[in-house]
Symmetry: C2
Subunit: 255 residues, 2 copies
C-alpha cells in the first residue's frame, strides 16, 4: 500500500520537499509519495485531525507559517521542540502527533559539510522566529563562542534569548551582526521577494566572515549576492533542507 507523506504550508508553491523525497522514494524503491498541501492557519488544526485518520498517512513536513502552531498541536514533542516552540516534522502515533525539529540540525550540518568547525565561532543571527530559534539552538549545541540575536521586533529577540539562557546557553546576547562576527545568518523570510530590503548590512562584516541564508527560493538571495560582491563567503538556504532530509527520513520510519 502506498504510504502518503505531505508538506503543509502557506504559500506552498515554493516548497522543494516533494521533489527531494519523491526522487529518493523512487531511487530506493519505496512505495510512497510526498505531496504539497496548501493549508491556511485557520485550517491547520482541522487538517491535522483529518490526516490522523488516514491509515496510510505516514508523515508531515511543516513549513511557513505553521511551525509554531504545529508545535502546539502535538501529543509528544522532542526537547528541541520544547525549547524552540516550533516543529517541522510530524509523525502519527496512537495518541496523536509526535513532532520534532530538524531545521537547525540541517543548517549546522550544511555548514559543517563545507569543512567549517562551528566550535568557538562568533555567530550572528537575524530573525528570532521559528527558523531563527531552530538555527540558534543547533549552533549553541555545537559550542559556539557567542550568539548575537536581533529581530525587527526587539521583544522577539529578547524572548528567544531568554529562553535559550534558561536552558543553559549563557553566551546569547542581543546585537546586530558586527565586525567580530564569523558567521552571519539570515533567518528572516526577507529575500524571498526581489524587492525585499536586506535583513542586515554586509558592509560592517570582516573580510573572512561567512554570510548564510535560510531562504531557499531564490537560491541566490540579494543578501548573498551583495555579500559575494564584497568578497565574503556565502552559504545558500538549500543546504538546510538537503542536510535534514536523512534525519526526517529516519524520523518518518523510512528504511
Amino acid at each position: 500500500m502506498t504510504k502518503l507523506f505531505a508538506i503543509a504550508g502557506d504559500p506552498i508553491a515554493q516548497v522543494r520537499s516533494p521533489e527531494v523525497f519523491n526522487k529518493r522514494f523512487q531511487e530506493q524503491g519505496v512505495d510512497a509519495v510526498m505531496v504539497p498541501l496548501h493549508i491556511t492557519s485557520d485550517g491547520l488544526r482541522t487538517v491535522l485531525t483529518g490526516l490522523l485518520s488516514i491509515k496510510s498517512f505516514a508523515g508531515l513536513v511543516i513549513t511557513i507559517p505553521h511551525k509554531a502552531a504545529a508545535a502546539g498541536l502535538l501529543s509528544a514533542k522532542s526537547q528541541r521542540v520544547e525549547i524552540t516552540g516550533v516543529a517541522n516534522a510530524l509523525r502519527p502515533s496512537e495518541s496523536g502527533w509526535e513532532g520534532d525539529l530538524f531545521d537547525g540540525e540541517g543548517f549546522a550540518l550544511g555548514l559543517e559539510a563545507t569543512g567549517m568547525v562551528l566550535r568557538e565561532r562568533h555567530c550572528s543571527l537575524v530573525g528570532a522566529g521559528g527558523a531563527g530559534a531552530a538555527v540558534a539552538l543547533a549552533l549553541l549545541d555545537r559550542g559556539i563562542a557567542s550568539l548575537s540575536l536581533s529581530d525587527v521586533q526587539p521583544g522577539k529577540a529578547g524572548a528567544l534569548a531568554e529562553r535559550l539562557r534558561s536552558v543553559g546557553y549563557q553566551c546569547v546576547r542581543l546585537a546586530d551582526p558586527g565586525d567580530d562576527t564569523d558567521i552571519a545568518v539570515n533567518a528572516t523570510p526577507l529575500g524571498m521577494n526581489a524587492n525585499d530590503p536586506l535583513p542586515f548590512d554586509v558592509l560592517q562584516l570582516k573580510q573572512d566572515a561567512i554570510v548564510a541564508d535560510v531562504v531557499m527560493k531564490p537560491a541566490r538571495t540579494r543578501l548573498l549576492v551583495e555579500a559575494q560582491g564584497r568578497g565574503l563567503r556565502t552559504h545558500e538556504g538549500r543546504h538546510m533542507l538537503d542536510c535534514q532530509v536523512s534525519m526526517i527520513w529516519k524520523f518518518f520510519g523510512l528504511p
Copy 2:
C-alpha cells in the same frame, strides 16, 4: 500550485484511479497528483472534514466501502446520488462537499463502447449495494425492457427495487438471472478473492447473453472465465472505471 486529488477506500491497495489520473495529468500537462488514502469507516467523516480545509485539495474519488457513507456527508448531491444513496466523486465547495455518482454511467458507456444498444434489453443485476444501485439506474435510464434484481439479502434487492419504482422505473422486478436475460451483471464484490463463490450461475443463461462484472481486480474473475468457457461474451470491470474517468475529470473542474 499542485492540485491534490485522492481516492479513499478500505482496502486501498487494489485501486487503479491514481495510475489512470496521474498518467492523464502528465499527458495533458496538468500540475496535479492523485494519491490513494486508506481510510476506515470510523475515520471517514473526520478525514472529509480535514480535506475540506486543504486549499489545494480539489477532488476525491470514493470507493468500497465508503460510497453510501460519503453520500450522507454531502452538502449538495446530484439526482443520481439522491436516488441511489451512494456517491463516488466529491468536490469541495464553499458550503461543504458536492457529490455525484459516475459508476453506472461508466458501466453503461463501457457496454455501449462495444457497440451494444441497451434500449429494450432484458438485464439482470446481482448485488443491490452501491455499485448495483448505480448500474441499475444507468441501465434503466437508457430504456432497457426490464431489470431483474437479486441480492443474497433479499430485503436489500427489494428496497432498491422499491426506490427505483418510486422514481418511475416500473420495469424492475425481483428475480435471478434467467433464460430471458440479455445482459447479466455481477455488482457484488464476489470474485475479488480467488476462492469466492460465483455470484450467479452462468449455466441457465442463453447462448447470446453477455456476462459483465464490476469487479476490477482480477480483470478476469472466475465468473467471466466460466462464462467464457460456456461460449458467452464477457465484459470486464475495468471498463466501468475507464469510461467514467472523463466524466470525473470534468466534475473535478479539470481542463
